[in-house]
Symmetry: C2
Subunit: 542 residues, 2 copies
């Protein structure tokens, strides 16, 4: 499934070769038309006013951590870089745009025909990083009309990616490191690439495998899956199994009638003292299905055991804590009574509408589940449907701009900024700080004042042990800055795991987590408030 939406022929050779190097977006539908109509209306109005080439700086950020938590994992960057690398209108696109904007002058479409992202610069925090509200995840610089057209696809590509990665990371946190987490969301996600994105980003956030075969193919994510209830009910009886031969893995031993062996064991188990009552009546179609499945997958047999009545080994209904403990008892008794080494450690997988809360409840109650299969709540991000990323103009032609709002949380932080993470003595990140581009960088060992961007009284001096610059250059445009590499999915996943481990535990805990501090330099603070006063209307009480 190569995503083959080839970029249109492009006069700018270096831009075209960059596109070839970076590759196309995963979804071939992520083309330059995937944007809001008003971006084109604005592009036209900019063009009409002769402003389209004005150099603009936009910040992409979010205002609030999702899921009632105090951290977010940043994801979707690679898709954004692929998007701009291939950003170009085809002749069909232009024809369509002309048809829906019939009042616009023809020359405007000539302009659209020419544009690409060769003059756009993109700076971003590395994908898989832990990030916090208000700090720009991506800073985009370039001709205002072009960058404006990128707003919608960038927000679209980052919003759900970051939300579901964060959700996955939260599930990993509550499940603990030793459990296996399986993403089973394909059938419940928002269509095909809701599902494909979910599989990619859940893996990034700490899941071990997916059920989604296409995602396995596209991203190399390990695949997992057993069988469904339909498989069980498609069998009538053990007579449905024509070939009863089972060979050992190395081929050295052969069991000629596995079905008789199954019957024999069933009888042994039904009369065993230690299991009295655990096995009453056996459903023949279930038995036939399991035997048949075992013949097909002798080395990785995993049975879904609740089509008729729950008792044994993907549990998909009922009281999962209780059933997992009972199943474990049976396995241990069989290991002991019949001398089957390792049988007691058989893997118990649980599924059925699991989420962060139910796993937390299972932990509190005690359970014997080894692996969780999670779908709906994970991929639809049930407890918070959107991250709410925004893309705000912070500077145009080197003039800082601010967006005011009666709601202080919605006021934007003006200026082209650089962003740093300051680490304390114990190795934990202490605070993120945004500074104006012209200011000197914070340095390890040097005291710096960190101010809350809007609340005057909230400020603190910090002497960082270590300073990390957050925004790196992923698309240099016409500047000659070196381009940061796009790492593999495995590497991004490791970054995410490491960053979460480095975080002070109280920021990440489920109950009443402590907010991580996000600040601005004293200079930026003063400038924000100067600009704010300048732009805000003076009210008149009547």
């Amino acid at each position: 499934m190569a995503a083959t939406s080839a970029p249109a022929a492009n006069a700018n050779g270096s831009h075209a070769s960059a596109a070839a190097r970076v590759g196309a977006p995963t979804n071939p539908m992520a083309t330059a038309l995937l944007t809001d109509q008003y971006q084109f209306s604005m592009a036209y109005a900019y063009w009409k006013a002769g402003k389209h080439a004005d150099r603009a700086v936009f910040d992409l950020y979010f205002r609030k951590n999702p899921f009632g938590g105090e951290f977010t994992v940043f994801a979707g960057l690679e898709e954004c870089v692929k998007f701009i690398a291939n950003f170009k209108f085809t002749e069909d696109d232009i024809t369509f745009l002309q048809s829906v904007m019939p009042t616009c002058e023809g020359a405007f479409f000539g302009y659209l025909r020419e544009i690409d992202c060769s003059d756009v610069e993109v700076y971003a925090i590395p994908e898989g990083s832990v990030v916090f509200p208000k700090v720009p995840l991506i800073r985009v610089e370039g001709p205002v009309a072009v960058v404006q057209l990128l707003e919608t696809p960038f927000v679209n590509l980052i919003n759900y990616a970051s939300l579901v990665t964060t959700n996955a990371a939260r599930h990993r946190h509550v499940a603990g490191k030793s459990k296996v987490l399986l993403e089973f969301g394909l059938r419940r996600a928002q269509g095909p690439d809701g599902a494909i994105s979910a599989s990619k980003y859940c893996f990034m956030g700490g899941f071990d495998a997916t059920s989604n075969v296409l995602a396995g193919n596209l991203f190399g994510i390990p695949l997992r899956g057993t069988h469904s209830h339909a498989f069980v009910s498609s069998f009538m009886s053990l007579d449905d199994i024509p070939d009863k031969t089972l060979k050992s893995k190395d081929g050295s031993r052969v069991c000629n009638d596995f079905v008789s062996l199954v019957k024999e064991w069933l009888q042994k188990i039904q009369v065993a003292d230690s299991l009295s009552g655990a096995f009453g009546e056996t459903n023949q179609s279930e038995l036939a299905a399991f035997a048949s499945y075992a013949l097909a997958f002798p080395s990785n047999f995993l049975a879904l055991v609740d089509t008729y009545d729950a008792s044994g080994i993907r549990l998909d209904s009922g009281d999962l804590a209780y059933l997992s403990i009972e199943a474990r008892k049976v396995f241990c008794a069989i290991e002991k009574d019949f001398n089957v080494p390792g049988f007691g450690k058989m893997i118990i997988t649980a599924s059925n509408d699991l989420n962060e809360e139910t796993i937390d409840a299972l932990n509190k109650q005690g359970h014997e589940v080894d692996a969780f299969g999670i779908g709906t709540y994970l991929v639809t991000c049930y407890s918070q449907a959107a991250l709410g990323c925004v893309f705000k103009l912070v500077e145009i032609n080197s003039k800082p701009r601010i967006k005011l709002s009666e709601d202080v949380a919605k006021v934007s932080i003006p200026c082209k900024k650089r962003c740093f993470r300051l680490y304390g003595k114990e190795g934990y990140p202490l605070v993120d700080i945004m500074i104006r581009e012209s200011e000197p960088s914070p340095k390890a060992g040097e005291r710096i004042l960190c101010r809350h961007p809007f609340i005057e009284s909230k400020r603190a001096y910090v002497v960082p042990q270590h300073v990390e610059e957050l925004l790196q250059c992923y698309w240099p445009g016409k500047s000659n800055k070196p381009r940061a590499e796009l790492p593999s999915l495995e590497k991004i996943r490791s970054r995410c795991m490491q960053q979460l481990e480095k975080l002070r535990p109280d920021h990440i805990r489920r109950l009443n987590p402590t907010p991580y501090k996000v600040s601005v330099s004293a200079k930026l603070y003063d400038f924000i408030h100067y600009l704010w006063l300048n732009e805000a209307p003076v009210g008149e009480l009547q």
Copy 2:
């Protein structure tokens, strides 16, 4: 943006030509690999047991109406039909599957290489129909291994489509017929085709337009959009406007200095008695942006008015009821005082985190909004993240199958069934009834007993005025049934509107809606309970 995932070469000429006629899925990623791993595990186990060609019948249905309502709109069928028309594994797919199923016999992959959907039959309720729990939306018949592979993509393609169409229909219901509804969800949906699907299905459910340009291109949905806050703040002052000329639409009159005209009017309005206080200080960058936008779009000007302070005409923050009423007063005063006919009727659009509840609250409070722009809550289906469609085996080799559960709502209705909607004297649908395939159809004017499938005491005689068979043949496979046409999006949208209008109002109201009745024939009732007793284990109390 043609979806060009061409079907692989296919020996079955009629199947290949059907694919060409039906077209490819909207998203080129909707290929045969877009399924759960366990479907392949099962396909292999069926194949190993020699059961892969067993003739199976599966029903796709849901168990509960979403959003606390009592109706659902069925959507996504066209994508399913396109999916099966193009269902075929490529050589790359086969190579990948071999790599992830290394223990499976080679001949199995030869089998996978050969299969397509030429021997599959698909029956479905027409897309855009109002539907209810338990009634099959789609019935799929065919070789069990093939139909099993369709489970995940079908559920994926129907689930979100039906959910978001229903959500859109609910928004239309609460907004009323006269309001304009605009879907603005692209930036908040689950990635690119979450957004594209949302745009398509919101239009189907009764929205008038979308902001999503690609959806406009793919489906012919009307496009709408004005400008963002960034556009406003990109202007500094009226000096930013180089070309101040404005021509009337027919070119007969020219205003050489529109900017001076704007200033003149602003002064007139500021001193007008009837508007005293409504216009205090004017933000110069906002004024310049509006003037500039008006010059670009003289015949469809719509200004976003709350970048600095809310007063006039897409409202995107604040108290929308109050602001819309105040804005209307100003428009009416200007119409009257300055003799500008029609100015009072200027369109007021509202956006900002709108949903069913907030529109209902606005209605109760009174407002002057003409058009609603709705994004996040609409496309993410915030109040219910998934519909929960299931795909259950109901018959294999003509033997009916049932899936039991301790939760009665999860028990499946066995048998290959036909389904009918019975209408009463007043033209309203009264009840849906499922019957066994061998039973005679219900007839208008003939009394029939409709039974609740699981509750013995719930039953009623009905003499239908009119009888409608629900399931139609959309993919005849090797049968020679006529194939129902896939109508245009516009026609599906009309069907949806008409069906909702035909529904008894108490089924559709927001508060305490009455459940619509879904029943089975007396024969089917008896058979379900015979099978249930046969399959259910007899418990043992200890």
